[in-house]
Point group: C2
Chain length 433, copies 2
């Protein structure tokens, strides 16, 4: 019998604030960071499970403490039992009666569970010798629904409805797997659009994005409306009429302000408006969606859990659903969200960027295409060209599309040398203040 | 000039799981705990600010780490500036651009901010020589609205509307302060109702509650419907027809289940149904409220922030609003919530119990009576008779009512001896497993 012997957790921070990469209307000076966990076992098979929570700097130590707190649930447990029934494993983490008080199912503790769940899936995929998207895509519909906790979901999606969705998609799986392997999954890029960039840099990067094959770019907005109009116009002139341009307000507005502001940007043919207001505000998003129709509202990267996603869908408060690999409680909860999106017929366009989020979330979109929604239409995965060099299997972009990964695992394993170099200590912090 | 010299944080846990005090359908074995903070200054005036986050055991160390992470914002800052503009102080904590990623405004980081904000209010009240409720009640309407961050609220409550509410209540303040000092604030008790208690203990404690002057008791439900019917019937027989009986499901149900279950309890004249489902599920609460009308839905103790409270009010998803002293970001955010409740005409009946929550939250209800809603009608503060002996100024109950505290501060200061005795170390934890 093999057991989990340790959760090895580290505080890893990249000093990105020095370059203004990643700056937007709310996040002025992010230091892209990871509360990183290695699941170590005594199986002697050469495999470890890797996962992390992405944060933007300060507080990464709190996130590390959150992951540590899960050790008592996992260390010493039978590895095969844990990996064979990942639905039960997920519930044993999410329903710990004392830890649950710290959310419930939101914030630091919930994201910590996400890191550990993702690391266990990484281990399971490595042991199976498959990339995560393929491991998931080859599970039966029954095995997949067993991963999902339907408590609090059944007023929108029952287990039987989820099974129907998966069974309907089953006949086309192998054909779509071939298509995916042949031509990848479409992406869009946020690389040109950060608020801290000069006009010259914005135009240059926008043109480069088109040359690189991207069919969509995204710009940060929400600082100053006249400035935004000017920058979106510059971008539209740079890319021409056929490239889609999304805008992202990073929670900056109230309802009236969002509707007013977006109306002034509409002439530039905006593909979507992302995070117009507070991510908890379902009713405000629904009001904004009505007010800016037919421009879609996109949101999800800060949405705490499947119960919030469910309500956004029920209220028609989003028209583009943006999952994040490390905000909710890992692969299982994201599968619940993919199934909800399929039920409501809403396209999933993941949030990525940060550090390692592209590497991680591509697996979920590819699984969605092969086994859930069965479609890539109207769907794009975010891409930002930062920090990929720190990963064991960095994403491969070809002509603006994610190439389907073939390496076993979930994509989240960071190079040991990078982990060693960027491990954080209080003395770094004092120097950086 | 005085400055803050340290946030001294401790992990304090009471081994309450051994007695099943505090057991309910979701929280089977709580160890009532506090992530406790002392705000220490160099003012040499003998005053410290005390505050805490209440948790139920495991993970209290994560909450301690969350409070530690706020040191960099406060230590070294000018004390008078911080205390003179508590609105700006609150924003400097909540809007830290990097820490905000860990919520935003929910879970461990947000509750950590709550502990520190409450500790600063404790310090401010002690320096003024007033109990918190009186300090707040003597502020001008303008000073009070300056404490509130109206971002994301204005679609339900504007600053001007909040000012109108406070100005309308201003003329009666001194009269109500006299009334409050004379006859206190009504309470209800959950002491009889924990799921782990025997029938004999339930009946005995219910009768004692009536003898002690309480006009309402509350029972935990949601384990088994037939068992619940039996227990609520026993309680109703024990207390007679004139005492109100609330029931609390602690998030146990889905929508249909809640409506069905409550319909079977309705014959016992249920005063309210508390936490019928997931605390994030606004739409489900609204559906349940419609389904069990005219029995009110009560919720709030697990609600993460003012944006969630706003939506519950907008959607008529609760009819009794239960603030908690340590779940949201402290006094400032609870004032925003009291103003929202006043705007919507919904009574506030705080959650309390745990450790120190009664001591803390009474100040907010008393402030609400004197300066916001101007009413005690239909309002009761929860009371549970646990662990009060550990506080410097424990609540005083007289004939089922909270006596208005007169000691300066916010009520959260725990005796130094208790803090020393119940400070937690990993070795305690290993013993308790």
């Amino acid at each position: 019998m093999s057991t989990i012997t340790a959760l090895d957790v580290s505080d890893i921070r990249f000093p990105t604030s020095t370059s203004l990469d990643g700056s937007d209307a709310m996040n002025l000076d992010p230091d892209y960071s990871a509360a990183y966990v290695r699941v170590v076992t005594d199986a002697n098979d050469g495999h470890e499970g890797h996962g992390f929570v992405f944060t933007i700097g300060r507080g990464n130590d709190v996130q590390v403490a959150g992951i540590h707190a899960l050790s008592h649930i996992l260390v010493g447990r039978n590895l095969d039992e844990l990996l064979d029934d990942m639905g039960a494993t997920w519930r044993s983490l999410v329903w710990d009666s004392q830890l649950r008080w710290l959310g419930p199912e939101k914030g630091v503790m919930h994201m910590a569970i996400g890191a550990v769940v993702n690391a266990l899936w990484d281990l399971k995929a490595k042991r199976a010798g498959l990339p995560l998207w393929q491991l998931l895509s080859r599970m039966s519909p029954e095995e997949i629904v067993d991963l999902v906790d339907f408590r609090y979901l059944t007023d929108a999606l029952t287990r039987d409805e989820a099974l129907d969705i998966l069974r309907s998609a089953a006949p086309g799986r192998s054909e779509r797997e071939r298509e995916l392997t042949a031509d990848g999954y479409p992406a869009y890029t946020t690389t040109p659009g950060w608020l801290g960039y000069s006009d010259e840099k914005l135009v240059r990067l926008a043109k480069e994005a088109v040359a690189d094959g991207f069919s969509m770019i995204k710009l940060k907005v929400g600082g100053d409306v006249d400035e935004d109009i000017r920058r979106v116009r510059l971008a539209r002139e740079a890319v021409g009429p056929d490239i889609r341009i999304g805008v992202d307000a990073n929670q900056r507005w109230g309802v009236d302000e969002a509707i007013e502001w977006v109306s002034r940007l509409a002439e530039f043919d905006v593909a979507w408006v992302e995070e117009p207001t507070n991510p908890d505000d379902i009713l405000a998003h629904a009001a904004i969606a009505r007010g800016i129709h037919p421009i879609p509202v996109a949101t999800g990267e800060h949405m705490a859990n499947r119960v919030m996603f469910k309500q956004f869908l029920q209220a028609d408060a989003l028209q583009v659903l943006q999952i994040d690999a490390s905000r909710v409680a890992g692969v299982n909860e994201n599968i619940a969200i993919l199934l909800l999106a399929a039920k409501f017929g809403v396209p999933v366009c993941p949030h990525a960027g940060g550090v390692g989020l592209c590497e991680a979330v591509q697996h979920l979109s590819m699984f969605d295409f092969v086994a859930v929604s069965g479609s890539r239409d109207g769907r794009v995965i975010e891409f930002v060209d930062h920090l990929h060099e720190h990963f064991v299997t960095p994403v491969e972009m070809r002509d603006g599309r994610y190439h389907a990964p073939t390496a076993p695992g979930n994509g989240m394993e960071m190079l040991a040398a990078s982990r060693a170099e960027y491990v954080f200590s209080e003395s770094d912090y004092i120097l950086s203040k």
